[in-house]
Point group: C2
Chain length 141, copies 2
DNA sequence: TAAATTTGTAATAAATACTATTACAGGTTC
DNA sequence: GAACCTGTAATAGTATTTATTACAAATTTA
């Protein structure tokens, strides 16, 4: 999918849950803030739930943080959303009769894996609490 | 675009140029090895040319490395292909009436920028020569 | 307890983005 | 000058995303 979209929506949702902890927001309400369809919000909340980041109850309004935002890193979100594979996945089917064609995927995989590890290590350094802090700071002036 | 596709094709093309330096390959020939349309090959070669990685001459067959593969990093390719913006670009238009909605893009940008810098630093450590070496090694057994 | 809400999914439709193809001008080679 | 090639634009065909509709199952509320 448009790579950052699911991810951004997920961060947005978690930020809302952290910013208004006592409110019980419906997926409709959240959808209004995020600017997407409520079903998409429910789908993404489902991913966050399966990753153990939020809890919900079928039929009961609202989603709730499973643990405080200080204990949720951006990497946790990234993984919850299942973005990992997508980033550098190669979809072309090179010609197997060409020595370059039949081996290039493996060679690229080596570099990409390392690059991705570096990136993820960086994402692990930021918590959702910091994101929310930055959002609030940006909204002051 | 399917994120890795352009990138993979570009690496593939450069690998071919490095592997068969004396041959003058037409875009048709390259297209055969890569498994995509010749026009796409020409387009990507155009990007590599504008980035100063290869040289071509209109009407004359073949593309040639502007400098040896040891002096071309994977990051050079990544940038030539103009992938930088795409990776984490946010396309949604969050609700500006919500404090989270109107500030989230900036906050995400901060994290993403750092993550991307780490990733790019890693990509800069690998040269195209190493890629080709790995391709050849993989083809031996 | 019946009506109104809400979540969780699936299925379908609409919108976008990607890749391939066609076409052709301008240049080269033989 | 005939055949071939690059560089680009325009168009068409696919595939992928996003939105919408629909509805069962659970919960709340009146």
């Amino acid at each position: 999918m448009r790579i950052a979209s699911r991810f951004a929506i997920a961060v947005h949702i978690l930020s809302l849950l952290g910013t208004f902890p006592e409110e019980s927001m419906t997926s409709d309400w959240i959808a209004g803030s995020v600017g997407v369809n409520a079903v998409i919000v429910r789908n993404i909340i489902g991913m966050l739930r399966r990753a153990g980041l939020v809890t919900t109850q079928k039929g009961a309004a609202g989603a709730f943080l499973a643990r405080p935002l200080q204990q949720i890193t951006v990497l946790d979100v990234y993984r919850a959303i299942g973005m990992e594979d997508d980033l550098f996945s190669i979809h072309s089917r090179p010609n197997p009769n060409c020595p370059v064609g039949r081996n290039i995927q493996g060679a690229l995989g080596t570099v990409f894996t390392k690059a991705q590890q570096e990136m993820e290590a960086q994402l692990a350094k930021t918590t959702m609490a910091q994101i929310v802090r930055e959002i609030k700071a940006a909204d002051k002036p």
